[in-house]
């Protein structure tokens, strides 16, 4: 011990520390560091301050730190590719863009969630550190170059999400959602960990580069542990992104969790899990011929996922449940890109994440304005008469729903176009056709929401409910910005697509 301690004080060892730190390249994890500090600070504030004032302070603090994290993510994205912590994590444009999505979506969620809870007289300060921890976990998942780091990131994310689902501890449905989510999530973590263990057993390493060097474009069937491990990891990630047949928890949890938490759960974490899985698959350097079985498997799962999601959504009456099944369907479209398993498809995936996050958060923010006491009127009948009495909110509703169903000129169309385009380019014709037919099916249930909001006449006397809605400034800004972005990306998607294409070159 002494031998270690004494040189640490001397000059030469100070240089050594600097050298180690230089190898560590700690600044590549700057967004995580900033947001972790934010999470810790908000946790302290929550511990020492009274509810109402503490919430406001926490709100401002976390917005500040998330924004700083966003800025540093942008800065990192502009840097060339680099490794940190001896190659355990690496930063490149790909992870940079996804980090921007994570911190940006968390920022938007917090902006809306604050007023959402305040309007209900609920002061839940734990919300702020938990969302920030979740963001840190997601960032590590994407930047990870090692399966262990992926798992660590996933656990930081998942544990935060379990608590977030049940954050409204006075609401029994929220508690129920948390327990369900926790049980299912624990299960899926076990699957993932077992998959990682098998891959480690097969290749002798958990590092993605070492695994790639070991597989080295050879058949994965040389060693049965590798395909078995990949399939178990697929199941583990499948649970997290609610891929059919591992989707059963989704509708209940999405319905039970507080509205803005559902918005958060349905966007960024899915992007994190899918991008981590896609990155693992692609960087494993699988030999194309031998991964056909894997491609077929994921392709079938993609079709099943979107079909089940869309068909189940057709007959729902609760908008949160519709959105739960819709998010399952969207995972199906995303799995098309995962299934293609090349870099071009990864660019389509990134673009879809961007668009899906924006439109989903926008739509949920709109719902948070419309939801009155305990989200009770978030049913189809509950939103009758919206278009007539609040045309502006109705217009936003139209934009988000047409985007979700993929009708031009919205961003949703551009995203789907990119995915199907990539599928056709790589000769996955059947997947493209089934995907686009599914997209047509999905139009039905989004249209049903529009139908009730605009076309069905409300019962007499119920029009007044909309005139009581007060537009909250932060919430309105979020809705406006996301709606504008949906249209803007829909009309000129070029620059984001190009960015995505550039990002995958560095991977």
């Amino acid at each position: 011990m002494q031998q270690v301690m004494i040189p640490a004080i001397s000059d030469s060892s100070a240089q050594q520390i600097i050298k180690i730190l230089g190898d560590t390249n700690i600044f590549y994890t700057l967004p995580q560091i900033i947001i972790s500090i934010g999470a810790l600070v908000t946790m302290m504030i929550a511990a020492i301050s009274r509810e109402e004032r503490g919430q406001v302070i926490n709100y401002i603090t976390s917005v500040f730190f998330l924004f700083a994290g966003l800025v540093s993510s942008v800065w990192l994205a502009s840097l060339p590719k680099g490794d940190a912590f001896s190659g355990m994590v690496s930063s490149d444009l790909f992870s940079g863009i996804l980090n921007i999505i994570y911190s940006g979506s968390a920022l938007l969620i917090i902006l809306v969630a604050h007023s959402y809870f305040r309007n209900r007289g609920r002061y839940i300060q734990e919300l702020f550190p938990l969302i920030q921890f979740a963001v840190v976990g997601m960032m590590f998942m994407t930047m990870a170059n090692n399966l262990i780091i992926v798992f660590l990131g996933l656990e930081i994310l998942s544990v935060s999400l379990y608590v977030l689902a049940g954050i409204d501890n006075m609401d029994t449905r929220s508690n129920e959602a948390a327990v369900k989510y926790f049980l299912m999530g624990a299960f899926s973590s076990a699957f993932l960990l077992y998959g990682i263990a098998l891959v480690y057993g097969g290749t002798g390493s958990t590092g993605l580069r070492e695994i790639a060097a070991y597989i080295n474009n050879k058949s994965i069937w040389q060693n049965i542990y590798i395909p078995a491990g990949i399939i178990l990891m697929l199941i583990g990630f499948g649970f997290k992104v609610s891929m059919v047949p591992f989707h059963m928890w989704t509708p209940d949890v999405y319905q039970g969790a507080p509205l803005m938490i559902t918005a958060f759960m349905s966007t960024a974490p899915k992007a994190a899990a899918l991008s981590a899985f896609a990155k693992i698959l692609i960087s494993m350097n699988l030999e194309p011929g031998s991964s056909i079985m894997l491609t077929n498997l994921i392709g079938v799962l993609a079709v099943v996922t979107m079909t089940v999601g869309n068909l189940m959504a057709l007959n729902q009456n609760d908008i949160k449940r519709i959105m739960a099944f819709s998010s399952i369907a969207h995972v199906g479209y995303l799995l098309i890109a995962v299934c293609i398993m090349n870099r071009e498809a990864l660019a389509a995936l990134i673009f879809y994440f961007c668009v899906y996050t924006i439109m989903n958060i926008g739509f949920f923010s709109l719902l948070s304005l419309l939801a009155r006491d305990e989200d009770r009127n978030l049913t189809l009948e509950g939103i009758q008469g919206l278009g007539k009495s609040r045309p502006l909110l109705g217009l936003f509703l139209l934009i988000f729903l047409f985007s979700l169903s993929g009708i031009p000129p919205t961003a949703g169309f551009a995203a789907k176009f990119f995915i199907f385009n990539t599928a056709i380019e790589n000769k996955f014709y059947l997947l493209a056709i089934l995907g686009i037919l599914n997209s047509a099916i999905s139009a039905y249930y989004y249209l049903r929401i529009i139908l009730y909001a605009f076309i069905r006449e409300p019962e007499s006397g119920s029009i007044d409910q909309w005139s009581q809605i007060k537009l909250n400034a932060a919430c309105f800004v979020v809705i406006f910005v996301t709606a504008a972005a949906v249209l803007e990306i829909g009309i000129v998607p070029g620059y984001i697509i190009d960015l995505g294409k550039k990002a995958i070159q560095f991977l």
Binding site: P391, I407, P408, I424, I433, A440, L451, K501
Partner: protein, 506 residues
């Protein structure tokens, strides 16, 4: 004439300016909304009229072409141009949109501002479809139309509007999805053959496509277009949508939207997949003939005037399709002319039905009878529209139908003979309806107090009557504009057939 002015973009996107202005107007100021919407429609129409004279019919081809970069990495550009066929359809669009706006002053009572915005958005999509020279752009405009049309039927429609609007939306959306796959497929085919991906018409026209793949692509496109036309048996959405849509919606739907389908066949299916076209033309013609006779028979037994006119559209569009797939110059010329004619005369019929509906709130034939005495001006206009729809010589419908039948006859006599029966049936259902509504004793006493057409209503009908007479007497004025385009189309088709045959031989 227009110099470097991007006239086509202006015509396409001018309604957007109107929409933006409308967004900032208080929704209670109906007269201001009227003014802005009408002015937008009027200026767009006035700007589009000079195109008719500026278009060089001797040169032919695409004129006023504009091309801007858009999504370069996908080979997609904002590329618009106008040939003789789209020239007439764009003019029809701008005219009928203006008429639709004016006709809605009193017909629409709720959410007036939103209504006008929807109409103007619809105009953007329709104009864009006829002008797009990039397949991706075409698809975007094609899909944009779904949104305003869905809202138009759903929000401002009749009793069964919920059902009709969803049916319309899902039918047309499903139809066009396969088209998107085919479009992307062809873009990558361009990449395989030339090295760069492109969605541009001009590049896709140069493709060499294997005949067996042509058939698949033909069908993928045809599904979307046939639903829009609507070709039998894809017509079932049309009577519902027409009946439930507000008057202006029906006018636009019959006048312009259905033409998008036939235009699609002309613009894409025939020149792009010539082998498949020749191979499948008999089937298309048989479906057209079934549509002609089926539509006419269905029209005959309708108790609802609007539904009758809707089914007559199925019949008339069957004629258009028959002419197009006769694949000779007579048939194509007649088919294109009939597209315009149908827009004018059926548009006028829907307007008239809407006008009388505003007064009586019924469209059932049995609720009328003998009203010619009460509303003589209305009866006169109705007579003109009906006769034009039947195809009386001296009116516009005659020229189109005779050309189509000549074309069909040249293709195979039995087609011409069967199609001619459709003309007779048309006279039966139209005149029978006219007789039951207008003549005979006044069946319902309250109808004797009906107010006749007012000045505004007459004013929007007069231009249509003028067009009916003008085209009837002097159809060359229109046909000369697109004669070159038809010749080009025929030539393109035959040259591509031989070139694919050559390439297969090699």
């Amino acid at each position: 004439m227009f110099g470097d002015l991007p006239i086509l973009s202006i015509i396409t996107f001018l309604p957007v300016a109107g929409i933006v202005i409308l967004l900032f107007i208080d929704s209670k100021k109906n007269s201001l909304i009227n003014t802005v919407a009408t002015a937008t429609g009027f200026v767009t129409f006035i700007l589009s009229v000079p195109l008719f004279f500026a278009y060089q019919e001797n040169t032919g081809g695409y004129q006023f072409v504009e091309k801007y970069k858009w999504l370069e990495s996908f080979g997609i550009s904002f590329h618009v141009g106008m040939d003789g066929i789209s020239l007439l359809l764009v003019l029809l669009t701008t005219m009928l949109s203006l008429i639709a706006i004016i006709s809605s002053y009193t017909a629409i009572t709720s959410r007036y501002k939103e209504y006008m915005i929807t109409l103007l958005l619809l105009q953007v999509g329709m104009t864009g479809v006829f002008l797009a020279m990039d397949l991706f752009l075409f698809y975007i405009f094609w899909e944009i139309i779904l949104i305003p049309m869905y809202l138009l039927i759903g929000v401002w429609g009749g009793k069964e509007r919920v059902y009709a609007s969803i049916k319309f939306f899902l039918y047309t959306l499903t139809g066009s999805t396969m088209m998107l796959i085919a479009i992307i497929y062809m873009a990558y085919m361009v990449k395989a053959q030339t090295g760069t991906i492109s969605f541009d018409f001009i590049d896709i026209f140069k493709l060499k496509i294997d005949p067996s793949i042509q058939v698949i692509l033909f069908l993928a496109f045809a599904l979307g277009f046939a639903i829009k036309v609507p070709l039998f048996p894809f017509h079932t959405w049309l009577p519902d949508a027409h009946t439930e849509a507000p008057t202006a919606g029906s006018v636009i739907l019959a006048g312009v939207l259905l033409k998008m389908g036939t235009y699609g066949f002309l613009r894409f299916n025939i020149p792009l997949f010539p082998d498949a076209t020749v191979q499948l033309a008999p089937y298309m013609m048989w479906l057209s003939i079934i549509g002609i006779i089926y539509g006419a028979l269905m029209a005959m037994i309708q108790p609802d005037v609007k539904k009758l006119v809707a089914y007559s559209s199925v019949s008339h569009l069957g004629f258009v399709m028959l002419g197009i797939f006769a694949l000779n110059e007579e048939g194509l010329t007649g088919g294109i002319l009939q597209m315009i004619n149908h827009g004018i005369s059926t548009g006028m019929l829907f307007l008239l039905v809407g006008m009388i509906y505003e007064r009586t709130h019924t469209r059932m034939i049995e609720d009328y009878g003998g009203i010619a005495k009460a509303v003589p001006v209305f009866a006169t206009f109705m007579m003109i529209a009906s006769l034009s729809s039947i195809g009386l010589p001296g009116m516009n419908g005659f020229i189109g139908e005779i050309l189509i039948m000549t074309g069909a006859f040249l293709s195979r006599p039995v087609y011409g003979i069967l199609a001619a029966s459709g003309v007779i049936l048309a006279a039966v259902y139209m005149l029978w309806m006219y007789q039951r509504v207008m003549f005979g004793p006044m069946k319902h006493a309250k109808n004797s107090n009906l107010k006749d057409l007012n000045f505004r209503e007459v004013a929007i009908l007069i231009p249509l009557v003028a067009l009916i007479m003008w085209i009837g007497v002097y159809p060359q004025a229109l046909t000369v504009k697109y004669q070159k385009s038809v010749k080009d189309l025929m030539q393109l088709k035959s040259s591509r057939i031989s070139s694919t045959a050559d390439s297969i031989k090699n």
